[in-house]
Symmetry: none
Subunit: 198 residues, 2 copies
């Protein structure tokens, strides 16, 4: 079936080993992602600023700048960007450092393709664009506490709702929230349920 044609998101792949890079890129493309590759952190950072990217998958060991430093810099540019590490050199310290930088996961090479896909699925499953926009609302430093918290709640619910295509039951499950409460909140926050036309 040609269902892999749907747009899954755009992944930035960073690895200094061009063979690995190519193989992974090919694999991800076949799986339906659009992929941008980079074999040096520097170019990757540039691409990060220029392209719309949903997630980054990076190696740890690289010449010029290691994966951690790259991640730190990437964070500055895109604070919410999901980072995924994969490396054969996962010492406890490295892993801790990566996770502290906000990595979603740290996969050990060799990475099972299915695992990588699964992770990316988790990451890109919900959307990135509306997310950032809504984020602006609750990130407005001038607004009073209460407003910001409400904005955040709204953002959370909307995002989740969207992710599950308006399926309330799924939202309940994911957010671990009482059905009645969700109703109330949506009422109060002015969130309306809407399903995508398929």
């Amino acid at each position: 079936m040609t269902e892999s044609t749907s747009i899954q998101g755009c992944i930035l792949l960073l690895d200094d080993d061009v063979d690995v890079l190519g193989a992974n890129a090919r694999f991800l493309r076949i799986s339906g992602y659009s992929v941008i590759v980079s074999n040096t952190p520097t170019t990757a950072l540039k691409q990060l600023e220029e392209e719309v990217i949903d997630a980054v998958v990076t190696d740890l060991r690289m010449p010029e700048m290691d994966g951690l430093e790259f991640a730190a810099r990437a964070r500055e540019v895109k604070p919410l960007l999901p980072l995924l590490f994969f490396s054969a050199y996962g010492s406890v310290q490295n892993v801790v450092a990566a996770m502290q930088l906000g990595a979603v996961d740290f996969l050990e090479k060799p990475v099972a393709p299915s695992l990588l896909l699964e992770r990316l699925e988790d990451i890109c499953g919900d959307h990135n664009e509306p997310r950032l926009q809504t984020r602006m609302a609750f990130d407005d430093a001038a607004a009073p506490f209460r407003h910001r918290v409400l904005a955040y709640e709204k953002y959370l619910i909307q995002t989740c709702m969207q992710k599950h295509n308006g399926h309330v039951a799924a939202v309940l499950e994911e957010l671990k929230i009482n059905r009645r409460t969700l109703n109330e909140k949506m009422q109060r926050l002015g969130i309306r349920r809407k399903r995508d036309a398929d």
Copy 2:
């Protein structure tokens, strides 16, 4: 240096090896922390509910329930409580799991006392790291609604508090929030006021 003079906070130590437990407890007490010990996860969980605790330091390998499961349960009770692992069995997977549960760090046994102190300092002391920690918490897509909202509230307050160098009145003003309410929230969220040494 006479740094151990100020009240540092209350640490819950969990380790099934009573010798290690005792030694660490003694060490931390000498260093100025108040320490609650536990040699089983179950009692630790109970203590978590009963006592006011600023951070938990736990082993990974334990009979009855491993450190990860303990951490998961602790999270349910205290979603924002700083967790610190230390263990000799730090596989990449374990570390990732621990960090995904929101651990602040994962130290490898044998742990250098100075390192442990340093970490606790980060956690209980100046809210520098905790900020990042909190931020990640509310960005953690897997966490339940309530946790995420709390994490966000904590982040807001901490950030604002830091911005105004611990000046509560200024925070009140900026966040447009009742003084009593702020007190309550700080209490509930485990935020301590901290002014920079000038």
